[in-house]
């Protein structure tokens, strides 16, 4: 089963008949939006335990308090390999997962430890949260950026709205959709440079299926709710750093952090970034349309 991400084809297989791949969020990502892509062979198998011998811990994290299925994750390293481990506190199917990415062989070997007594494990190829952490690692590997943002496309112009959670990304995207724009996604975007220009792509989401979309990245808005609409162009390093603050970023060494800074500064040098206080009504659409006119 193939799942296409920006610049990537992931070919999923299972080595255990008990694992059933059933795509949900990734089901419509069965074709590439770009001409060029790199292929990874991804295989899942079941095991009673995980063996992470020889790997050293690079970075850890956990689900937000109150998550429906709490978990913790760790990224490990061994030479050129990266491993993602997820330990679930209370998942109905899985206790633990270890996915080893070999960038030289272009393979990802996933070992799944099921809960006792289960005959079958039914998972989306990019099941949560393994799929999300995997996307972060793969995006970095090919010098792309993942960002908490919504994006819309209107008459060939792609606009990105970024903010911390709960401050209006979906609201802003909804207003544009009502005014006739195409929604790229309202939560998370994958930014990738194609032929020298930055584009935004949606990614498979855990709780709904969406057609893969892409749009040029023409304008970036750092949004916040405000009693009045106020849109101000930001410049220089201040613009770049305020944009970077909403990136999805897990960097565990100097080289990685440097590469991320380079791409953020590249985006900020090519694409106008605006501070955008807005009232959630359609007037903000007119105000923003007027910027490029």
């Amino acid at each position: 089963m193939d799942v296409f991400l920006p610049g990537l084809r992931l070919n999923f297989k299972t080595f255990s008949s008990e694992i059933k791949l059933s795509s949900f969020g990734s089901s419509l990502y069965n074709h590439s939006l770009t001409e060029d892509y790199k292929s990874f062979e991804v295989s899942y198998s079941l095991s009673e335990s995980i063996n992470s011998t020889g790997f050293s811990r690079a970075l850890s994290g956990e689900s937000f308090p109150g998550a429906e299925i709490p978990y913790s994750w760790t990224i490990f390293r061994r030479d050129k390999e990266i491993a993602i481990q997820v330990i679930f506190d209370d998942d109905p199917q899985l206790k633990e997962v270890l996915g080893v990415i070999d960038f030289t062989k272009e393979t990802i070997l996933g070992t799944l430890v099921p809960r006792k007594g289960l005959e079958n494990i039914i998972i989306d190829p990019l099941f949560q949260p393994f799929g999300s952490v995997l996307m972060v690692v793969l995006a970095h590997f090919q010098d792309d950026v993942l960002v908490h943002a919504s994006g819309v496309l209107e008459n060939g112009t792609g606009r990105l709205f970024t903010a911390v959670s709960g401050t209006g990304k979906s609201t802003m995207a909804g207003i544009w959709k009502n005014e006739g724009a195409t929604l790229i996604n309202d939560d998370r975007l994958w930014l990738r440079k194609v032929d020298g220009c930055w584009f935004m792509f949606n990614t498979p989401m855990p709780y709904y299926a969406q057609e893969p979309q892409m749009a040029p990245l023409n304008e970036i808005f750092l949004i916040r709710q405000s009693p009045e609409n106020e849109v101000t162009k930001l410049t220089g390093i201040n613009a770049a750093m305020r944009f970077m603050a909403n990136g999805i970023q897990h960097f565990y060494d100097k080289e990685m952090t440097g590469r991320h800074l380079d791409r953020i500064l590249d985006i900020a040098s090519q694409i106008p970034i605006y501070d955008c206080g807005f009232r959630p009504t359609k007037e903000i659409v007119e105000e923003i349309r007027g910027l490029s006119g």
Partner: protein, 93 residues
């Protein structure tokens, strides 16, 4: 300048520094420097005494020496506090 603990990049005349804690990037404590700050740090890429720094900057900026010395003093206090700059010889400092 404590180059090991930061990832530093230049954009135009400004500079950005991302601190690393145990090699992990701390994106919540990013430092940005304006043109003057960037010039001072460039001078400090190799260790310098305050006198050497002052001489160097005096040739770059149209400023009287007393103001320059006070500004350098302010900058260094903050930079040392944020571990951007290290004192490597207390006597000469």
């Amino acid at each position: 300048m404590n180059a090991e603990q930061f990832v530093t990049r230049q954009m135009g005349s400004e500079m950005v520094m991302v601190p690393l804690t145990d090699k992990v990037a701390d994106m919540t404590s990013v430092l940005t420097l304006n043109e003057v700050g960037a010039d001072i740090l460039k001078i400090l890429e190799n260790p310098k005494t305050i006198e050497e720094m002052t001489e160097n900057l005096f040739t770059l900026y149209d400023v009287d020496k007393a103001t320059l010395e006070a500004d350098i003093d302010d900058f260094l206090k903050t930079a040392i506090d944020k571990k951007v700059v290290e004192i490597i010889n207390q006597e000469r400092f």
